[in-house]
Amino acid sequence: MQEVLNNLFPYVMKKPDQLWKSVVETLQMTAWAGVFMFVFGLILGVLLTVTREGSILENKPVYQVLDKVINIFRSIPFVILIALLMNLTKVIMGTRIGVKGVIVPLVFGSTPFFARQVDAALAGVDKGLVEAAQSMGIGPVGIIFRVYLKEGTAAIARGTTITLINLIGLTAMSGYVGAGGLGDYAITYGYNYNRMDIVWAAVIATVLIVSVVQGVGTWIAKRSTH
């Protein structure tokens, strides 16, 4: 086994720690950014849904502002976003390099997309259910938690999966600020030295991580569908 690996991935096996470190960095970035993305995106997505015209907390100004801001952030390429947010990153995290330095741009880069996913997921919740709850005298907070989020769980799980996979894609660019990760590994040690086995190792590791995320997402979605 060891021998086969040595033959197939000579450069990877020379310094397996490098690969392992990159995997850990990618997971760290994804996990930290993912948690904030999930919380902020969920809040924004719910706000979009409930402030929309005709909805339970209809509020035109709030909706318009959210809608525009989300669109703006979604249209900025991630690499530019890193540059744009460098001062904010410094203020929040105390540094603008390393894994810490890339979390803020990652959150800004993925949250708007996730907010749209949540909004779309909640749009799939039958309006009749909201009306039924209203007719029972359930207030807006109850409707958000007990109707929208509960009934939209499966769709939100699917949206989370898609966003996390996107997020993993964004982490590949974090080499720009020295945050490491699998993207950086593939470019720095593979591309620059023309070592294809390193690139393949990065591909395989990424595919494995994405598959696990996809698997968990699908499982949750399935479990909450009846």
């Binding site: 259910l129 009306e131 039924a132 007719s135 029972m136 207030g139 007990r146 569908t225 009846h226």
Partner: protein, 369 residues
């Protein structure tokens, strides 16, 4: 040939005491404004619905029935007008106070609107959760409600595993959970087959009688009105064009749309169609008339026919007859072809009218050119 207009005797309508009304709608107007052009869904409707009654609202699609009923619990806020439920003016309340009042007004829908991620049990428990009620108390309540709608064995099933009729039963149980005084039903049986419809109507009648719940039913099926309502309002283009006791509406529909609906509930409609057809006249003697008689609260039809026939020497052949029970009272209808001497026929009709039976001459062959 000419169709002779009907003569009716007017009876006094039951006066409705506004103070004792369970639901009082006053000058309700609802206009949906969409890009400047307004849709006038409800135009100045005033209605009083009494405690403990089953009140029907009928009308064609787009007449504004749903909009009007949704104004009762303010799912739709009227553009103007007052909604008073159980002596509380809902249109004045804060949203918090309104939510409190809404617990007194259950609602069921054509599409059932059950929570797909919750079991039958959890659906029925939904209105009770977060109200400070203990787990055991909720359990008892839910199980007794499920027993009431005869679905105890489905407690752990999910809505997707139920038939339409069972789903509506769950919806009814859920609507009853907060002990409402009123139940609003928006086309609650329209998605169901006739047999299931009957069983749901029976259930509604049961909760009306056993729990004293006032019920408002929207439907476009006159059969539903006939089966369980005591009073009915007919809506057309956002207005109530006719209302009254169901029996009276069936016995003496005034407006064209009302006749239309009443006819749709029985086979009298076919008869009228038949009469439009000239061929019906073929077999009829020159002096014959086709007469429709309505027997209110009596079933003396047969005896009367033979008596009239003997006494006035006219031939009466029955071409259509029907007796039905509406709101516990019988309503009979008999259509005969009467032939004989003109004076005798006139006398016979006068006699029948004297017996307080409504006579409508649908066709008078004698007066045809």
């Amino acid at each position: 040939m000419r169709i002779i207009p009907v003569c009716f005797f007017v009876i006094g309508r039951k006066g409705v005491n506004v103070e004792q009304a369970m639901i009082s709608l006053k000058h309700i107007v609802k206009t949906f404004s969409e890009h400047g052009s307004g849709v006038h869904a409800v135009r100045d409707v005033s209605l009083d619905i009494l405690p403990g009654e089953i009140f029907g609202i009928v009308g064609f699609s787009g007449a504004g029935k749903s909009t009007l009923v949704r104004c009762i619990n303010l799912l739709e806020r009227p553009t103007s007008g007052q909604v008073i439920v159980d002596n509380v003016e809902l249109t004045r309340l804060s949203s918090r106070a309104l939510n409190q009042e809404r617990k007194k007004i259950g609602m069921i829908f054509q599409q059932f609107n059950l929570f797909a991620t919750r079991t039958v049990y959890q659906n029925v428990a939904f209105p009770l959760q977060h109200t400070g009620m203990s787990r055991e108390a909720i359990h008892q309540k839910v199980m007794s409600l499920l027993a009431f709608v005869e679905l105890s064995e489905k407690a752990e099933a999910y809505p997707s595993q139920l038939s339409g009729g069972q789903k509506q039963r769950v919806a009814i149980a859920r609507a009853l959970a907060s002990d409402p005084k009123i139940l609003l039903c928006d086309e609650a049986t329209s998605a169901l087959d006739p047999q299931t419809t009957t069983s749901i109507l029976k259930l509604l009648k049961k909760l009306n009688q056993e729990l004293g719940i006032t019920i408002v039913i929207i439907t476009h099926q006159m059969q539903v009105i006939k089966e369980i309502c005591q009073r009915v309002a007919l809506m057309e283009a956002g207005q109530v064009v006719e209302q009254g006791d169901v029996y009276d509406i069936f016995a003496r529909p005034q407006q064209p749309i009302t006749r239309n609906f009443v006819n749709s509930a029985g086979n009298a409609g076919q008869l009228e169609e038949l009469l439009q057809d000239a061929h019906v006249l073929d077999g009829i003697e020159d002096s014959a008339r086709i007469i429709k008689m309505k027997f209110l609260d009596s079933s003396a039809g047969k005896a009367l026919v033979s008596y009239v026939s003997r006494t006035y020497n006219v031939d009466l052949s029955i071409i259509h007859g029907n007796v039905e029970m509406i709101d516990g009272r019988s309503l009979g209808e008999l259509v005969v072809v009467a032939s004989g001497e003109k004076t005798q026929l006139d006398a016979a009709i006068a006699y029948v009218r004297q017996c307080r039976i409504e006579v409508e001459v649908l066709l008078d062959a004698g007066s045809a050119e």
